[in-house]
Subunit: 405 residues, 2 copies
């Protein structure tokens, strides 16, 4: 991924993460990723160090219309070719400007100037084309850095990626939730030894309040693959109540699919998470089938007036209390007419902590038609961590509370 | 950053982004970033290729208690030293387990085994210590991959980072919003030439609906620095209504600070963004001073019953219409008693589009005490892009609508 904006931290690199998922799905083993400056020198040095050392090299970024984008000239220099104006690309760029009723500027024609050894990859959603260079079994793909343009180009041109993908990869993933890494490891300690003895790779992939266990073999041996399936069954038994699912799903995807399958709906009243939990759920396409809606009662009077929390509870026990979150959960469930309601109130930090309720103190409640359950958590001192861990803890509580079949 | 989970895309690398920001703030020029596998081979190869080629090399990840964490042994091998149990670190690990009332497992003692040439860096929030190796002006820092642990270790040990930072860097940043990259470039075309002639680096850093212009010089020349200040003034005039602020702030930070400075408050009724806008605002520490609350009326009946939208408007014009978003904005403003209200309704996709209202169609309204303004947008076909661009477009509309001083 190319760009000074990545190296100074002004932009978070999400392109690589997306590509990594796609490549893993195709059985392509990603061995290294670099983020480099958008200078001719840095791009050429990277080409020198990596070209033909792997089957596939992918660049993203550095293909925009602005003058600090130098990828094309660096590629042309490296391969000793000139930039040549491509008429087909030029027509496409003009058509794009026409379709959005914007004037075609002369500077935009530069998008059609490509290194002479390149096969252009059509960019349906933008003006900078992708580029493919092939030399025997080695491929270089260069795509613009705008995420949705890059994704579309990649998906549209998959058939051109002529790599010897490692089709022998066999992988199983187990999602766990509500247990720390050390405790999880202790539970499966003996099993882990057996798995190692089979020369199967076992990885722990922890994230906010969830962890994945991933078993991988590259052997292509069918007997070993069925051994992995046995190991997975054994692991699931050992992990017990912390086991969520044996598919490569996020916790929010699992909860969404389970609600949908059972015809259940959900609503959320979240204070300290400030909309993050609703946003997690609604990031999933089709979530409107299960998600009725949410409320972010950031101020106490909104908790009282909009979600039926008793003023006396706020006064007597504080906004971060069992009494208040239980009323938030039941209140939003009734008002929004859903199968389940989630109530959240806590101190995300960095301010607002007291001796009794330090930063990281969070109450979460789940309400169903007949009962309410609540739990107190102590997370960290970090606002962003607390928001994320709270949202995942709430999803995990719902998973355990709900009658999913 | 070390870890197979990053290379297969199961985890998004946010550690590097955080570190990049810190290093840029310290005037340290980051020249390259790599993500590598958590194997001895990959870690040692990276050490061979990079150690002593820059002043500072930072590793994160690969220091947990689990067996797939091999960073320590790779470092020990590379420097030709043994792992030695450090008593001070061991006591700290035991104290951490005691403080959370969890049993100390023998496997956790492994956290205290460090390469013999390492200075341990205390990890206040976890059991895996950071490590520092210094050799003349060259430093290697290795930290665990858990973000908040890594951040705390880095912040606590800044004084140990003995690098020749480039204190001559002079940088100004301009935040723009509501204008595309090509159009922005066209506006400042002549000025850009002048800036280039001064040998000042000008970068465009576009993100969802906003773009930063960054002017940088490494000369240390005071006259040139004051020329940059003049260029910034000229650019601000050229950019006009698309200019937001000449500080390195995000749009949400700018809006938060402006609301706070003026004693204004905000509430939000957001349908297709599903809580993302509320979540953006509440990610800012102290946002409770300006953010009254939000509602995510994902279902039409919730729009009608909870935010005073007329059922006839939903029936006659649809949920994605000027009439409905204006009532969402006014309704939430009144109900939540805030200076401004934002209403959002759109089709995020991938489903739900029609010929009249294709995926990417979004209406946004801003309500104040005396007037309401609304605007129709056509974004992309990508759900995640549409959610983000909508949230930033709403913040930009509020910026223009509000009486900020």
């Amino acid at each position: 991924t190319i760009g000074d904006e990545l190296l100074i931290g002004q932009v978070l690199d999400t392109n690589f993460n997306w590509l990594a998922k796609q490549l893993a799905g195709l059985g392509i083993n990603v061995v290294e990723k670099r983020t480099i400056r958008d200078t001719q020198e840095a791009i050429k040095l990277t080409l020198e160090e990596t070209w033909k050392k792997t089957d596939l090299l992918i660049f993203t970024g550095g293909l925009g219309p602005t003058k600090d984008d130098v990828t094309k000239s660096a590629i042309a220099d490296f391969f000793g070719v000139k930039l040549v104006r491509n008429q087909e690309v030029l027509e496409h760029v003009k058509a794009i400007f026409a379709s959005i009723n914007k004037p075609f500027l002369e500077v935009n024609a530069y998008q059609a100037d490509l290194p002479a050894n390149v096969i252009p990859l059509k960019n349906e959603l933008g003006t900078a084309p992708g580029m493919l260079i092939q030399d025997g079994r080695f491929s270089l793909i260069s795509m613009p850095g705008v995420p949705y343009e890059m994704e579309k180009i990649f998906e549209d041109n998959l058939h051109l990626i002529n790599v010897n993908s490692d089709s022998n990869v066999f992988q199983r993933t187990i999602l766990t939730s509500g247990i720390g890494e050390s405790a999880l490891m202790k539970i499966i300690e003996k099993k882990e030894k057996e798995i190692e003895d089979d020369r199967v790779n076992l990885s722990y992939l922890p994230s906010y309040g969830t962890a994945r266990l991933r078993l991988t073999t590259y052997s292509g041996n069918k007997i070993l693959n069925s051994r992995i399936n046995e190991h997975v069954e054994d692991l699931i038994k050992l992990i017990g109540k912390f086991y969520v699912v044996d598919e490569d799903l996020s916790l929010e995807e699992y909860v969404y699919l389970s609600l949908k399958k059972n015809g259940f709906t959900l609503s959320v009243a979240e204070s300290c998470t400030g909309g993050y939990l609703s946003s997690l759920i609604t990031s999933i396409p089709g979530s409107s089938a299960v998600f009725r809606g949410g409320i972010v009662p950031y101020s106490n009077d909104i908790k009282i007036n909009e979600v039926s929390v008793d003023e006396s509870n706020v006064n007597d026990f504080g906004a971060v209390s069992q009494q208040v979150v239980e009323q938030l959960a039941s209140g939003v469930r009734e008002k929004f007419d859903s199968t389940y309601g989630i109530g959240i109130s806590g101190i995300a930090g960095p301010g607002g902590g007291t001796k009794e309720k330090p930063v990281g103190t969070v109450w979460i409640a789940i309400a169903g038609k007949e009962r309410v359950e609540s739990k107190l958590f102590h997370f960290s001192k970090n606002r962003s961590v607390n928001i994320k861990r709270t949202a995942y803890a709430a999803l995990n509580m719902l998973r355990i509370f709900a009658d999913f079949s």
